[in-house]
Symmetry: C2
Subunit: 470 residues, 2 copies
């Protein structure tokens, strides 16, 4: 099983000179064709190798995007949109070559409508840039996938992260999208109204489409008031079941928990190694609560009672900002910390999502499988959503280890699907998970293909991603 | 401008005898072709006249739905799904005749997954039936459009209602859909995982598609724990602006208000007439807060401070269930109360939704327009969403009054669109608002048409709804 659909050499041989010539006429030397720019454009943050496009253009506005799409449509040249390159499933790789549209300089914040709790941004705005811009107005954008991704990329991937249990995912927080379609049409998928029952939900169709149905030129997002107070808590458990049952109890009690992260024993060990902390090396929950000061305190206290009923110990909570930040820094350092466990290992980060009632079982079976496979892989999860990540540490110079990791990964995804879960909660399909998408959706894959074919009949928009063989 | 696309006589003349013969062979006398059954099937709760189908079948399971779709596909016969018939834009009218699939007896609750906070239901389950079933388990389904609609109909219409400000709309609360597509394929749009980044969001594409893309056979919904406590409040204002600014302040403060309804002076007058209450006849907010008892109290108290800063008066709040129910009964009686203002008038209920910053302006301009038009129309709004309803009271035997009402309606919708709002926040398009959908979406209409054409090339699924002239 090769995860790579083509080699860079095979891609290089494809002839898009007509497109390159036409683009050079319009963009001059802003069309970058040097090796380094192309290699960077084709590489994401994952272990997937770079699959360089034939050319890269840093766009500045929607009109330029339209010009590129028009030329690529005329010459049947693939287009690969590129945000910050933080994807994990090869989404920016030019699996059939073509032109990478780099949005990193198309990053203006076009409007902040504070009273409406929405903002309009260009796709290249990063989430940190947006939050920096918003904070003086007492607003924030909650979706936090960890990396400092662009809003365009997060929209394309239907990203989420630690806050999704309270604030939802990109699905819930994109109000409308302006996009150039394959036929050159510039559409806006909706108005700024908070809700609408007017026609097909093209917004949600584009969210998660990974650049295969349209190229985004502006995105309207929902934002939220910065909570008056936040409290954070940490709690350890002897078993995963206790941790998961605590979270079910917390939700059942109606506590609007803002973040609830599960870190397994191996993850806690790696954090201790990395930061010199002395966390107990057992399954652990990190929690955060947002509200008025009274409410943030009450929520933490109620959560303490519920965790205690489920075998939780060492519950500590704080409303102090510094202590809270220290906790979440530990959570964010998990990827770096993991590397200490296996210095030659590269991180292969993959995620699945199951109904929460199946989560402990799914993680336990996966943990047993990891150990039988002789691999190292910390597990962290957005447990409120039933979503967890395996940080597989794999020495890519060791073909047998790679093979064992691929087999383990395959079993993990099938296990999640059997439990009525999904092959990816938030990383997307890219080209890395196409086979699993097909298993997951079965007869529903064909309607997806029909939609792709009708909206992009020549398959110029990020071909080879999400769906295969079009 | 006629709102009716065809007369019952024109529809009756269409020949679907091949379909009727084939269906009779399978369903025997369960295929109803009598006048009364057909007229009832073609009529919703609105002023739209009945547009009867040629036959009606009360289905019992997905297999029967598949058989009907197969026969109708083969004979190119329109299919109109029918839930409780509570739609307001003619959604159940058979504008091109054909077969009405009546889901009222396909109403089993297939699974309650309490730990996962989801349920699986057949489309004919009504929201009250569902909540009755759930309450012993401490769960509830929050979407409340007023009418006792079916889950299938609410999903098809992307319904919402008074709780949407806190719990979202059907868009946010449908986890997956099982549906028969026009080509006979039975698909399930997703797993039970709470979130997924796997492929195109067919769930959201079907939510709000009004029966035009697929016929639902099962729906998985998100449900919520019944809050420990609920408080309710009422507050009056001299001006609409004060009421709307209060709501913006409440959201800005991060108070997770569960319901916040705006009733204008005329609505309050009608409620007093109907129930003998003595509410002040000025713009009024009804509010509800969910949480722990401490939190439900704190939220009401904070809201009181914020409304006072915005000129609110007479703030009264309660945590007592009976008093709370009395308040919401008054809100729910608005439709009946309105009729007292104009005994010969029939209610024409229509809705638009705008960014909340434009809401007071939009309502004030609409109110002035109503008065200049010499019409009577109470206004109520789900103000947290920027969504409001006009309850136009129109004597349909007075052609001039009907004409004035249509012109007023037209201006109101265009006004909302100019304010970056939508032509319907929650009622849907049906055949009543197709022209406005076209104005609202502009170049985005064609992608909708492309999707419809590819998924239903013979246009058998609820033709004449949402999109015209296919």
């Amino acid at each position: 099983m090769s995860l790579i659909p083509a080699t860079p050499e095979e891609i290089e041989r494809l002839d898009y000179s007509a497109a390159l010539d036409a683009l050079r006429e319009v963009f001059g030397n802003r069309l970058q064709t040097g090796r380094s720019a192309r290699e960077q454009a084709g590489k994401d943050e994952s272990f997937h190798p770079s699959l360089p496009p034939h050319g890269v253009i840093k766009v500045k506005n929607a009109e330029e995007v339209r010009e590129i799409v028009a030329i690529c449509a005329r010459t049947r040249t693939p287009i690969v949109p590129h945000g910050a390159g933080t994807s994990l499933e090869g989404s920016v790789g030019a699996v059939r070559g073509g032109i990478s549209i780099d949005f990193s300089e198309m990053n203006r914040i076009l409007a902040v409508n504070a009273a409406d709790f929405d903002v309009v941004v260009e796709p290249g705005v990063t989430r940190r840039q947006l939050n920096e811009h918003l904070k003086d107005q007492g607003l924030f954008f909650p979706i936090d996938p960890g990396a400092n991704a662009t809003i365009g990329g997060m929209t394309a991937t239907r990203a989420s992260g630690t806050n999704a249990v309270r604030y939802g995912t990109m699905r819930d927080n994109v109000i409308n999208i302006e996009a150039v379609m394959a036929d050159g049409r510039l559409i806006r998928t909706g108005k700024r109204a908070r809700k609408s029952a007017a026609g097909y939900d093209l917004t949600r169709l584009l969210v998660g489409s990974e650049g295969t149905l349209g190229v985004f030129t502006a995105i309207t997002l929902r934002v939220y008031p910065i909570p008056e107070a936040m409290s954070a808590a940490v709690c350890t458990f002897e078993s995963l079941e206790g941790a998961v049952d605590s979270v079910i109890g917390i939700i059942q009690y109606g506590i609007p928990v803002a973040r609830v992260e599960l870190l397994d024993a191996l993850t806690m060990k790696s954090i201790n190694m990395y930061s010199g902390a002395d966390f107990a090396e057992t399954p652990t929950l990190f929690l955060e609560f947002h509200g008025s000061e009274a409410s943030a305190r009450e929520q933490a206290e109620l959560a303490q009672e519920i965790t205690a009923e489920n075998g939780g110990g060492g519950f500590q909570w704080t409303i102090n900002t510094e202590e809270r930040n220290r906790l979440w820094r530990a959570r964010h350092d998990v990827a770096w910390a993991g590397k200490l466990l296996h210095p030659k290992g590269q991180i292969w980060s993959t995620d699945v999502c199951v109904p929460i009632s199946r989560l402990a079982d799914c993680i336990n079976q996966t943990r047993a499988d990891i150990e039988e496979s002789g691999l190292l892989a910390p597990i962290v999860g957005h447990v409120g959503d039933g979503n967890f990540h395996l940080l597989l540490l794999v020495d890519h110079d060791d073909p047998q280890e790679v093979e064992r990791a691929q087999a383990l990964h395959h079993r993990m995804v099938l296990r999640a699907l059997e439990m009525d879960g999904t092959c990816t909660g938030e990383h997307g399909i890219g080209y890395g998970k196409i086979e699993f998408l097909e298993i997951e959706h079965g007869d529903a894959v064909e309607p997806m293909r029909m939609i792709k074919r009708t909206l992009d009949p020549d398959n110029i928009l990020n071909p080879g991603k999400v769906l295969r063989g079009l």
